[in-house]
Amino acid sequence: MSLFTITTGNRADIDILHLNGELDAHTASQLEDAFKSLISKNRNKIIVNCAFLSYISSAGLGVFMAYIEDVRSMGGDIKLTNMSSKVFNVFDLLGFPALYDILDDEKDAHEKFTQP
């Protein structure tokens, strides 16, 4: 069975999700629930740290596709950081780098959220 966990944290109005393990059709609902929970609380500045995300399939990409417009329409964004080249390659196959803010690390994402 696929193993996947999310650790959440926040700093001021920015929420950070640390993904750990394999994101596929079996585990994607966990990420979906995390996004839904944040959006329901009007939390819309979200950093997704992928340092320990070892695998992603289109079911995982689909969760990002389904919620980015909601978050952006609220004035926020989902920024992805610390992606391994293996995971980045999957995002790249679908042209995500042109559509999503994919950054080196959390610090970069914080700066982009807080810069005037």
Binding site: M1, D24, A25, S58, L61, G62, M65, K86, V90
Partner: protein, 139 residues
Amino acid sequence: MSTTKEQSLLVRATTENIAHVRNFVAKCAAECGFTVTNTDEIRLAVDEAYTNIIKHAYQFDETQTVTIKVFCESDGLHIIISDKGKRYDPETYSEPNVEERIKLKKRGGVGVYLIHKLMDRVEYRHEGALNEIVMTKKF
């Protein structure tokens, strides 16, 4: 590089088995002599094909089964994934516009696209109630 070798797996059509299925084929690919990068591509293509069967062919009916056969041959790896569910019509496939799908808040619809990007050859075969997707990755 190995000569022809067949390995097979029969599993229930449930998302709980996705990791088992993709890792089984990835192990076959590695044993067949594929690089880590190519093995990762094969692993993802198999995940997408198996997930599509669970969702679309069997519509999450976990009592159904899926057979995965892997052939390591001199020209590369051939993978046949079989089901007896609703037939997929490849004529309905068109390359997804991801930007458009995001605007419409639509997910999915990109698995078949990934399979075609990751594999060298993809065929769909049907015989009676049996549906097969045949995927080939060349060395």
